[in-house]
C-alpha cells in the first residue's frame, strides 16, 4: 500500500475494545460503560453500516421457541422496556429511537398451522410470554384489512419494533458521553497478543491495547475470530425487505404467518420466504422476510422479491395496487445451530464474543450486552452462557 495512513500511537489502554459498531457492539459498549469500564469501539466502516442498517428492527418474543434464545429474548425485552423511559435530550430514549410497543399478531392459514401455533403459544406462556388467542372471526377487530382466509391467530402484546439504526447510533452516543471512543472506517487487521492472551487490536492507523477484546463484528465475526486462531462459524444468510410508498396507517401490528417460526429455525440453504408485514411511523409498509444462504452475493433475486410481494398481497389484499418504492438487502449473521455466540473464549483468553444473532440481533442486543458486561466484571451472568459458548462448534468439518 503506497499511501498508508500515518500510525497514530494510542497511549491509553482501554478496559474493553469492541470490534463492530452495529447494534450489538453499540449495546455492549453502552452496558460496559454503565459498569464502569473504559471502552473503545472500532469498525471497518461507518456506524450501523452492516446488517443493522438493513434490519426491520424486530424485538420479538413471539417467534422464539422455548430454550436459551427465548430466555435471552425475555431478558432483552425487559431491557428495552426499562431503557425506553430513560430521559434523553428533552425526550426519552424510546421516543428518540422510535420504539413502538405495538405488539405482534401471528396468524395461521389452516387448522394444522393453528394447532402448531396453539402448542407453541402454550409453551411460551409457561415461560412468561403473553400470548392471547384470537379466533379467526375476531381478527378483523385487530387488523381490519387482513385477508379473511385465516383460521385464527395469537396476539403477542410484548412484541415491539424499533428503528434499529437510530437505536445503535443513540446507544453509541450514550457510550461516548460516558467516555467511550468510537473509531470508524478503521478495520481491525490483527490482534495484539501476550502469549496466548489477546491484549488489544491493531488497525492500519494504530495499536489499541485493551484489557479485553469483544468480537461484535456481526456477519463478519468469523474473520475477527480467525485473527485469534479460533473458529466461530458465522455465515451470511441473505434477506430482502420491500418498502412500499407511504400509506395511511392501515396495518397496526407486526403481522406474520405462523410458518415464519419454522423458516427461521430451518437449516435449508435454499430460498425461503415467510410473510411478515408491518407499518412504520413514516407510513411505509415493510414486507419481509426472505432467507437464503448464497454467501455475500449482492445480485438481485427476482424470485425473492416475487415471493415477498405475493405473500404480502395474500395476507393483505389491499396492498395489491400499492407500489413498492424501495427494497433493500442484508446479510444476517447465521450460526449453524441458530444461537448467538456470547461470552469469553477459553481458546483465546482476553477475547470475548457477542455475535451470530442471525435475524434477531436488534431485539437480542440489549440482553446480550448485559450478559457480556456481567461476565467482563466477573459477576455471574443472569442467564447461563453455556448454550452460547464460543467453542461449542468444534473444529471445521470439511463439507
Amino acid at each position: 500500500m503506497p499511501d498508508r495512513p500515518p500510525r497514530t500511537p494510542t497511549s491509553t489502554t482501554s478496559d474493553l475494545v469492541v470490534v463492530g459498531a452495529g447494534i450489538v457492539g453499540a449495546a455492549c459498549a453502552y452496558h460496559a460503560t454503565r459498569v464502569g469500564l473504559s471502552v473503545t469501539v472500532v469498525d471497518s466502516g461507518p456506524i450501523t453500516g452492516g446488517t443493522t442498517g438493513a434490519g426491520e428492527g424486530n424485538i420479538l418474543l413471539s417467534d422464539k421457541e422455548p430454550g436459551p434464545e427465548l430466555d435471552l429474548a425475555l431478558l432483552s425485552n425487559r431491557q428495552w422496556r426499562s431503557l425506553a423511559d430513560l430521559p434523553l435530550d428533552g425526550t426519552t430514549f424510546g421516543r428518540a429511537v422510535e420504539l413502538e410497543t405495538k405488539g405482534g399478531l401471528v396468524v395461521a392459514t389452516g387448522p394444522a398451522a393453528l394447532a402448531g401455533l396453539t402448542r407453541l403459544a402454550a409453551q411460551q406462556r409457561e415461560l412468561g410470554v403473553e400470548a392471547i388467542a384470537v379466533p379467526g372471526d375476531r381478527l378483523p377487530d385487530f387488523e381490519p384489512h387482513l385477508t379473511d382466509d385465516v383460521a385464527g391467530g395469537y396476539r403477542y402484546p410484548q412484541d415491539m419494533q424499533v428503528q434499529p439504526m437510530l437505536a445503535a447510533a443513540h446507544l453509541l452516543r450514550l457510550a461516548r458521553r460516558a467516555g467511550a471512543t468510537v473509531l470508524t472506517h478503521e478495520p481491525v487487521t490483527g490482534l495484539l497478543r501476550d502469549g496466548e492472551r489477546v491484549t488489544g487490536v491493531r488497525t492500519p492507523r494504530r495499536d489499541i491495547p485493551a484489557g479485553a477484546v469483544l468480537n461484535a463484528a456481526g456477519t463478519w465475526a468469523g474473520e475477527i475470530a480467525a485473527l485469534a486462531g479460533v473458529r466461530v462459524p458465522v455465515a451470511p444468510r441473505r434477506g430482502y425487505i420491500l418498502v412500499t410508498e407511504p400509506l395511511p396507517p392501515i396495518i397496526r401490528h407486526k403481522v406474520y404467518l405462523a410458518d415464519y417460526v419454522a423458516d427461521v429455525a430451518s437449516d435449508s440453504a435454499a430460498l425461503q420466504t415467510s410473510t411478515v408485514v408491518e407499518g412504520t411511523g413514516a407510513g411505509t409498509v415493510l414486507i419481509g422476510a426472505s432467507r437464503e444462504r448464497v454467501g455475500f452475493d449482492r445480485t438481485i433475486s427476482l424470485p425473492a422479491l416475487r415471493q415477498l410481494a405475493a405473500g404480502a398481497v395474500r395476507l393483505f389484499p389491499v396492498l395489491r395496487d400499492v407500489a413498492v418504492i424501495r427494497a433493500y438487502r442484508g446479510f444476517r449473521p447465521y450460526c449453524p445451530d441458530h444461537l448467538p455466540v456470547i461470552g469469553p473464549d477459553r481458546r483465546a483468553p482476553g477475547l470475548h464474543h457477542a455475535c451470530g444473532h442471525e435475524g434477531a440481533g436488534i431485539g437480542l442486543s440489549l440482553g446480550t450486552a448485559r450478559l457480556v458486561a456481567q461476565s467482563l466484571i466477573g459477576e455471574p451472568p443472569e442467564i447461563d452462557l453455556h448454550p452460547f459458548r464460543p467453542d461449542r462448534f468444534g473444529p471445521e468439518v470439511p463439507r
Partner: protein, 489 residues
C-alpha cells in the same frame, strides 16, 4: 406478460439513445428502444401531445431536424422489424439471465394506474444505457413554496404542454441551460423578470482551446443572449437567489451579488417580484440501472456521479455500453455522438461487417467533452448556497427533513457518510427517492464531516434494488428466473 427478444436493448430514447439505436440498427442489429416517455426525444426533444396547440419546434428546440430525421428513420426500421420502439415502459430492474439480460418494465405512462397492462420483459444480449439526467437542486429558504419549480420542470411544461408556468418568472441557478429556459418562457408570453446566474461566462476566457474546439456551442449561447436582450430580460451574473419570498405561495425572490471570494456582498440584496421561480444547478445523471448492473462509476468535474466508459463507450461490465449524460453531463450534441459510438460498438460486438470510419466522430467527442469540462469549471456550484443552508431549511421535501436534522445526524449521532445520514434521518427515503435532495444531502454530510464529497455519498442515492415504483400485485406474479438452489451447506 409480454416478452420480447432482441440483440440489443437501448434504455432511453433521448438524443443518446436514439443515436445508439439508429447506429446499431443500420449496422444490422435487432434493437429495442425502451423509454418511460410516451413520445420519443427524451427531455431534450420533449414534444407536446398532438392537439396541445400550435407548435413551432424552432421556437423551443435545437437540432429538431436531427430529431425528426432520426425519428423517421427509426420508424422506417420499426416497419421492417429491425427496431422495436417501446414507449411508456418504466424499467425497474435489469438482471442477468444466462448469456443475456432481462430488462423488466412496468408499462404505463403513470405506473400506479389501476388496471395497467401486463408486465413486459425484454431479453437482450447487449445493453446501451442512455438514461439521461434530471435537474440538480439545492435547498434554500423558501424553496418549498408553491411557485418554485425546477428550470427543467419549467421547460418540460412548455415543451410538453406549451404551457407557461406563470406570468412573471425569475430563472435562477447556474449554467448555460438557464438561457434557453428563459428564452422559451419569454417567447411563449411570460415576463422574465431576470435571469440570476451565479457565475460569469467571462470565465470561459480561461479555457480558450476548449472554446475554439466547439465554436458552435458558444454561438448557441450568444444566440440566446441576443434574444433575451430583445425580450429585455436582464441576465445578472454572479448573483444568487438567497430566499424565496411569500407565505402561501411565491410572491418574489431576494437576490444578492457575490464578491470575488464567493460571499454575498453586503448591501447588494434586493427583491424581485415574481410568481414563478425556475431554478437549476446543473444536472444529475440517472444511474439506478447502471449501478444495478454493477458498472464502475466516478465523480465528474461537476461533482456528479457518472458511469466510467472507455474509448468505445463500454462500461466496466461486459456487454454494457453507456452514452449521453449518464457518462458525464455534456449536452445533446455530445450525447448524440456518444450514442452513435456506443451503438456502433455494440453492433460490432455481434460481428457487424461494416461500421464505417468513426474517426471524425471520436474527434468530435473529444472536442465536445473538452467544452463540457470547461463549462463545468465556469459554472461551479457556489459554496455560499450550502453555507447559507440554515438548520431550519427543508432539505428532503418528501420526508420533511431539515438541514438541522442532517447536521445532527453527522455531528451528534456519528454518521460519517450520506448513506448513514439517510438511515438515521430519512432524507431521500420518500417518493422521489433522493432525486431532489440526494445531491444536497451528500454535500451537507461531507461539509459537516469536514471532507470533500465522496463517491460513496453520491452512490447512496442511486444504489437501488428497484429502480422505479412497481405495484406489489404485478411484482407478485412477475415471471422468470426460477428460484436458485443455495450453497447446499
Amino acid at each position: 406478460m409480454t416478452e420480447h427478444r432482441v440483440d440489443l436493448a437501448v434504455i432511453g430514447a433521448g438524443p443518446a439513445g436514439m443515436a445508439a439505436a439508429l447506429a446499431a440498427a443500420e449496422a444490422g442489429t435487432r434493437v429495442a428502444v425502451i423509454d418511460a416517455g410516451v413520445r420519443p426525444g427524451g427531455q431534450y426533444w420533449r414534444s407536446p401531445a398532438p392537439g396541445a396547440g400550435p407548435f413551432r419546434p424552432a421556437t423551443l428546440h435545437h437540432g429538431w431536424r436531427r430529431f425528426t430525421s432520426t425519428d423517421t428513420r427509426l420508424t422506417e426500421l420499426a416497419g421492417t422489424g429491425r427496431v422495436l420502439r417501446l414507449a411508456g415502459h418504466h424499467v425497474w430492474s435489469i438482471l442477468p439471465a444466462g448469456d443475456e439480460w432481462s430488462v423488466h418494465c412496468v408499462l404505463g405512462a403513470e405506473p400506479r394506474q389501476h388496471g395497467t397492462p401486463a408486465p413486459v420483459t425484454v431479453h437482450a444480449r447487449r445493453l446501451v444505457i442512455a438514461t439521461g439526467a434530471y435537474d440538480r437542486q439545492l435547498p434554500f429558504p423558501g424553496w418549498d413554496l408553491p411557485g418554485v419549480i425546477t428550470a427543467g420542470g419549467g421547460q418540460a411544461l412548455l415543451k410538453g404542454n406549451l404551457v407557461v408556468a406563470g406570468q412573471t418568472v425569475v430563472v435562477a441557478g447556474t449554467g448555460p441551460f438557464l438561457l434557453p429556459v428563459a428564452d422559451g418562457l419569454a417567447r411563449y408570453g411570460a415576463r422574465v423578470a431576470a435571469v440570476i446566474e451565479a457565475n460569469s461566462p467571462l470565465a470561459f476566457a480561461r479555457f480558450p482551446r476548449a472554446v475554439l474546439g466547439a465554436t458552435g456551442k458558444l454561438g448557441e449561447a450568444t444566440g440566446y443572449a441576443g434574444r433575451l436582450l430583445r425580450h429585455r430580460v436582464a441576465v445578472r451574473h454572479r448573483h444568487v437567489v438567497l430566499r424565496a419570498l411569500g407565505t402561501d405561495r411565491l410572491t418574489g425572490v431576494l437576490v444578492g451579488k457575490l464578491d470575488r471570494a464567493g460571499r454575498v456582498r453586503a448591501g447588494t440584496e434586493r427583491e424581485i417580484a415574481c410568481d414563478v421561480l425556475a431554478v437549476g444547478w446543473g444536472f444529475t445523471p440517472q444511474l439506478e440501472l447502471p449501478l444495478q448492473l454493477g458498472c464502475a462509476t466516478r465523480v465528474d468535474v461537476d461533482g456528479s456521479l457518472v458511469v466510467t466508459v472507455d474509448e468505445d463507450q463500454a462500461t466496466s461490465v461486459a456487454g454494457v455500453w453507456a452514452a449521453g449524460e449518464a457518462t458525464g453531463v455534456g449536452g445533446a450534441d455530445l450525447a448524440t455522438v456518444e450514442g452513435r459510438l456506443a451503438g456502433l460498438a455494440a453492433a460490432a460486438s455481434f460481428g457487424a461487417d461494416e461500421v464505417g470510419d468513426d474517426r471524425a466522430l471520436r474527434r468530435r467527442r473529444t472536442s465536445l467533452r473538452g467544452f463540457a469540462s470547461a463549462m463545468h469549471q465556469v459554472y461551479p456550484i457556489p459554496q455560499v448556497m450550502l453555507e447559507r443552508c440554515s438548520d431550519e431549511t427543508l432539505v428532503c421535501r418528501c420526508e420533511e427533513v431539515d438541514a438541522g436534522t442532517i447536521r445532527r445526524a453527522v455531528v451528534e449521532l456519528g454518521a460519517t457518510e450520506a448513506r448513514i445520514v439517510k438511515l438515521l434521518a430519512r432524507p431521500g427515503m420518500g417518493w422521489c427517492q433522493g432525486r431532489v435532495c440526494g445531491f444536497a444531502t451528500a454535500c451537507l454530510t461531507a461539509r459537516h464531516a469536514g471532507r470533500p464529497v465522496a463517491e460513496a455519498d453520491l452512490r447512496a442515492f442511486a444504489d437501488r434494488v428497484i429502480a422505479a415504483p412497481t405495484p406489489l400485485g404485478q411484482l407478485a406474479t412477475w415471471p422468470g428466473d426460477e428460484p436458485p438452489a443455495g450453497d447446499g451447506g
